[in-house]
């Protein structure tokens, strides 16, 4: 059966309950916004295939429940994720402070080389804002993670965020593969080879075979 994509990236959305993870995902996967969303119980994922420098990259994006209590279950799904969106709500101070905890949570449960990005969501609600953009940026600098403010409602920066994360994953993957390939094999700028050698790299890199 013909594959309709060249590469599969598994991404994950985490952050406190109500910050807008599901809304961001819905915006990205369906280009829609729904005012009466329901809270997420358990876990779900959505798929969207994007075009990244000529490659069809299938993004499998997992959406988790935010409440702490469910973490024992939700962390089971961290395994194998290549990129994680850490989401907070700019109108909710607490959700911002919790980003630190979420990062710790990732360190404990996800692979070390996972790409991360911080999203300050609901930036359309300027009048209710509790966390300034500057603070978000500072946090990102502290952790050396990319950052962007988003609005799932107004479709602001949602595309950008996912493309950026996907691109970073791809770049990291290329770098690793180049490093592991003999120099002569290096060629075009973004030519990725299927992990031709049957070596088994320990990380997720191995799982993404490129055609």
């Amino acid at each position: 059966m013909a594959k309709t994509y060249d590469c599969l990236f598994k991404l994950l959305l985490i952050g406190d309950s109500g910050v807008g993870k599901t809304s961001i995902l819905f915006r990205f996967s369906e280009d829609a916004f729904n005012i009466s969303f329901i809270s997420t119980i358990g876990i779900d994922f959505k798929i969207r295939t994007i075009d990244l420098d000529g490659k069809k990259v299938k993004l499998q994006i997992w959406d988790t429940a935010g409440q702490e209590r469910f973490r024992t279950i939700t962390t089971a799904y961290y395994r194998g994720s290549m990129g994680i969106m850490l989401v907070y709500d700019v109108t909710n101070e607490k959700s911002f402070e919790n980003i630190k905890n979420w990062i710790r949570n990732i360190e404990e449960n996800a692979s070390a080389d996972v790409e991360k990005m911080i999203l300050g969501n609901k930036c359309d609600l300027d009048d209710k804002r509790q966390v300034s953009k500057e603070r978000g940026e500072q946090l990102a600098i502290d952790y050396q993670i990319k950052f962007v403010e988003t609005s799932a409602k107004d479709s602001l920066n949602v595309e950008y965020a996912f493309y950026t994360l996907a691109r970073d994953i791809k770049a990291k993957m290329e770098k690793k593969q180049e490093a592991s390939n003999p120099p002569g094999a290096r060629s075009g700028a973004h030519v990725l080879r299927a992990s031709d050698q049957q070596r088994k790299p320990p990380s997720w890199l191995s799982r993404c075979s490129l055609l």
């Binding site: 005012i35 809270s39 119980i41 876990i43 609005s151 602001l156």
Partner: protein, 811 residues
């Protein structure tokens, strides 16, 4: 339909749902150059809280925010859409504004999804599709799903992609009738228009022909709309109720007779070598669908062939030792019953209001649920708010006490000052969680819809008061899902609170801080599935899904997210009965999974596909079918010869190590959960005159009837126990004889009393307190089902008998 109208004040209009990337493909009365422009399709709530479907062209939305036009500046805030931005149009606002298309939901008649979820057509007039839209992302089904939250629809009989709006303003429907048909051919069916526009240039001839052929797209309004107004199941329920009462009427004729003899027919040809399998005589015979004997013969044949594959027969001197590779007995098909009706419910209470036949009531509810009109009253008992044994006046007192208690707890948090709150982070956190979830709970249901809906405040108040009631547990996501249907049904804050507290009591382990309760249930589910459907369990294990996490949502909120309100009410009330065993909700999971087994295995679904498939089952499940399947699986499992202790523990059954007899009347926690109805209400032992009829072979044991003052079953005496011991198959023929005897006057109240007559009053050897009795080497357990079924169990063999007399007696 009206076009244009940006004069609405956007502040008061609310986009309930927005879908970007939608092209206008055709719209009657619009010029061709308006077509094919991209925009967003929305469900909008107007200031007067009427709703409409609205399409806005993108170039309208994306006008730069530097515009000075106040009116439009507001529209701008809807956003800059990167993905669907089309850009460079003229900024002639008036023209753009006129391009908005609005379809008030009150006028919407039909809509249709076609072209692989890429096209949606709308019609406000019989016979014509006025508008069609193209969904760039091919996800029209999502729009439909949300739209269906706002209009009640039925699917057209001849086209499953066409939805007919069945909750119309009746006035408009009538009004439109007159000229509608005439318009059919004068107006251009717009499905055709856009293909015309795009194709005419290249293929003028074919396109024209196509256009004519597409006239078949014209919708005719038959009486679908009328039919669609009532739910099929409602109709069926009605019919059943009617047929029930017809039955009651007809049996009433025999009431004048001294006895009513019901013989449960199946006379089985003796067949050797069938191990202890359940012969389950379902209700079908009563429904006239199928002869019981046919059914049983079928089951036997099936089990025979199953045996041939998997049984190794070892002949030992005395007995045939049959070792069966764990194959379950065939699954009986158990039809659902009718809901507990008002009349029955009234009849089941004595004059003081005590509910006398608790087990009987529960059985009835287990079989068919509760009629909607009496749910508010019955649920309070099922959820342990009202004790069954309380009289009317005691309940009044209880209500008073509970109301006071509720409000004093409510006061505790209501009187908290801002300062207190600011220094009480644990409370604050709980409060903010509640607020977030209340705003996301069942908002599409009219009861909770809209801004500032007072019911949301009640929802919040109850949850906050529960936080005070059980501060350690606090608020956990999922609780609002549990509460919402209760409040919706009961309406009253205090009642809802106590019923909610009762429900929470039943599912408290779901919300453990460490999720231990959830993990244990997931493990139990896995064990149960392994026993019931080993193939599937194995498949899941192979696919890294053996932890069953994909069923997490099902279990956490007891399937709330998988069913409509209507259906979840039915499912919950059945589960609340605690019948027929502990953890029956796990059987619901197994039933659903078993139904999907062929897909999950057949398509070789892996970890992610399994999760997706299971999540996507939401709102597509048939509650009655699932309940029926779950019960069938339950019977398969409990009658399986290889039933393990592991499973027994899950079901709340005594483990094998201990004897049946000893455990059957334990009064501990498994009382409610165990299927053993307490039937020892009538305890007069009476003459027993058991006859045994070998009927040619000693493998056939016949229980003969005996006439007596009391209704009962006659069992073979001790001296016949050899038949049972040596029989490889137990063929049982049961005659049930009822004596109609009224305790007092045949009033409503006394009908409840007559229920006691379904209990056995005689037993050959000894009588067990639970209604079972001893024969030969073991105990026969008797379970009285609702709607007249009686199940007898002997050494793991279960036989169900349908005795319509049970309810006939109530008539």
């Amino acid at each position: 339909m009206s076009s244009s109208s940006a004069e609405d004040i956007p502040e008061q209009c609310k986009d309930l749902f927005t879908q970007d990337g939608v092209l206008l493909k055709s719209c009657i009365g619009r010029s061709i150059n308006e077509l094919n422009s991209i925009g967003m399709l929305c469900i909008v709530q107007n200031a007067d809280s009427t709703k409409c479907v609205e399409w806005r062209p993108n170039d309208l939305i994306t006008i730069d925010s530097d515009t000075q036009d106040q009116e439009w500046a507001v529209v701008n805030t809807i956003g800059r859409r990167q993905r669907t931005l089309s850009g460079n149009m003229t900024s002639d606002y008036a023209t753009l504004r006129a391009r908005i298309i609005k379809i008030p939901l009150s006028e919407l008649k039909t809509f249709r999804v076609s072209r692989n979820n890429q096209q949606m057509q709308f019609s406000t007039k019989p016979g014509v599709w006025q508008m069609s839209f193209y969904f760039q992302h091919g996800n029209a089904e999502i729009f439909v799903a949300y739209l269906k939250n706002h209009v009640k629809t039925a699917k057209a009989r001849n086209d499953k992609n066409t939805y007919i709006v069945v909750e119309p303003n009746r006035e408009t429907q009538v009004l439109n009738k007159s000229f509608a048909e005439l318009d059919i051919f004068t107006e251009n069916p717009t499905d055709v228009v856009w293909s015309l526009v795009s194709n005419l240039r290249q293929r003028p001839y074919e396109t024209t022909m196509e256009a004519f052929s597409k006239l078949t797209d014209i919708v005719y309004y038959g009486n679908e709309a009328m039919n669609g107004k009532r739910d099929v199941s409602e109709e069926v329920a009605d019919l059943l109720t009617k047929s029930m009462s017809a039955m009651e009427d007809s049996t009433a004729v025999t009431r004048s007779d001294e006895y009513e003899v019901i013989s449960v027919k199946p006379t089985l040809p003796p067949r050797p070598c069938i191990p202890r399998y359940a012969l389950y005589y379902g209700n079908e015979a009563m429904n006239g669908k199928r002869d019981v004997s046919e059914e049983v013969a079928d089951l036997l044949t099936k089990s025979m062939s199953a045996m041939e594959d998997s049984t190794a027969v070892t002949r030992s001197d005395e007995y045939e030792v049959i070792s069966v590779k764990p194959t379950l007995p065939p699954r009986p098909c158990i039809p659902r019953g009718t809901p507990l009706s008002t009349e029955k419910w009234d009849g089941l209470q004595d004059t003081d209001g005590r509910v006398t036949e608790v087990e009987g009531v529960k059985q009835l509810i287990f079989r068919g649920g509760v009629a909607h009109s009496i749910r508010p009253s019955v649920w309070k008992y099922l959820l342990d708010y009202y004790p069954w044994t309380m009289t009317h006046s005691e309940i009044k007192n209880l209500q008073r006490r509970k109301t006071e208690e509720y409000f004093s707890m409510k006061l505790q948090w209501r009187s908290m000052t801002e300062g207190q709150e600011s220094r009480f982070s644990e409370y604050r956190e709980r409060k903010s969680l509640v607020e977030k979830d209340v705003n996301r709970t069942d908002r599409t249901h009219p009861f909770y819809a809209g801004e500032n809906n007072p019911n949301l405040i009640v929802l919040q108040d109850i949850l906050m008061t529960y936080v005070m009631y059980n501060f350690d547990l606090g608020y956990v996501q999922g609780m609002s899902d549990i509460l919402a249907p209760l409040l919706l049904l009961l309406g009253n804050e205090v009642d809802s609170f106590w019923c909610f507290a009762g429900f929470m009591e039943k599912i408290a382990p779901n919300f453990d801080m460490d999720q231990a309760g959830m993990k244990q249930q997931l493990l139990h589910l896995q064990q149960l599935l392994t026993f019931a459907s080993p193939e599937l369990a194995q498949h899941l294990a192979q696919k890294d899904s053996g932890n069953m996490y994909f069923c997490f949502r099902w279990l956490l909120v007891w399937f709330k997210r998988e069913f409509s309100h209507r259906d979840i009410m039915r499912l919950w009330e059945v589960l609340w009965t605690g019948l027929p065993c502990a953890n029956f909700h796990l059987f619901i999971c197994v039933a659903i999974l078993d139904t999907e087994k062929d897909i999950l295995i057949g398509k070789d679904y892996g970890f992610t596909e399994v999760l997706k498939h299971v999540n996507d089952l939401s709102m597509r499940l048939d509650v009655d079918k699932i309940l029926s399947t779950a019960e069938g699986i339950y019977h398969q499992i409990v009658s399986a010869p290889h039933l393990t202790d592991q499973i027994r523990v899950i079901l709340g059954l005594p483990t094998i190590g201990r004897s049946h007899t000893e455990d059957s009347h334990s009064d501990t926690e498994d009382k409610e959960a165990s299927p053993k109805a307490e039937c020892s209400r009538t305890n007069e032992a009476s003459r027993s005159n058991a006859t045994t009829n070998g009927n040619g072979t000693n493998q056939r044991v016949l229980f003969a009837p005996e006439a007596d003052e009391y209704d009962r079953f006659i069992w073979p005496g001790e001296h016949n126990s050899n038949y049972i011991k040596t029989a490889k198959t137990l063929y049982i023929r049961i005659f049930v004889r009822w004596r109609h005897r009224l305790v007092s006057s045949p009033t409503e109240a006394s009908t409840a009393k007559t229920l006691t007559y379904i209990c056995p009053v005689a037993t050959p050897t000894s009588f067990e307190p639970n209604g079972g009795f001893n024969i030969g080497s073991g105990t026969v357990l008797v379970y009285f089902g609702a709607t007249g079924s009686v199940t007898l169990e002997y050494n793991g063999i279960q036989i169900s008998v349908v005795t319509k007399t049970v309810w006939a007696l109530l008539a």
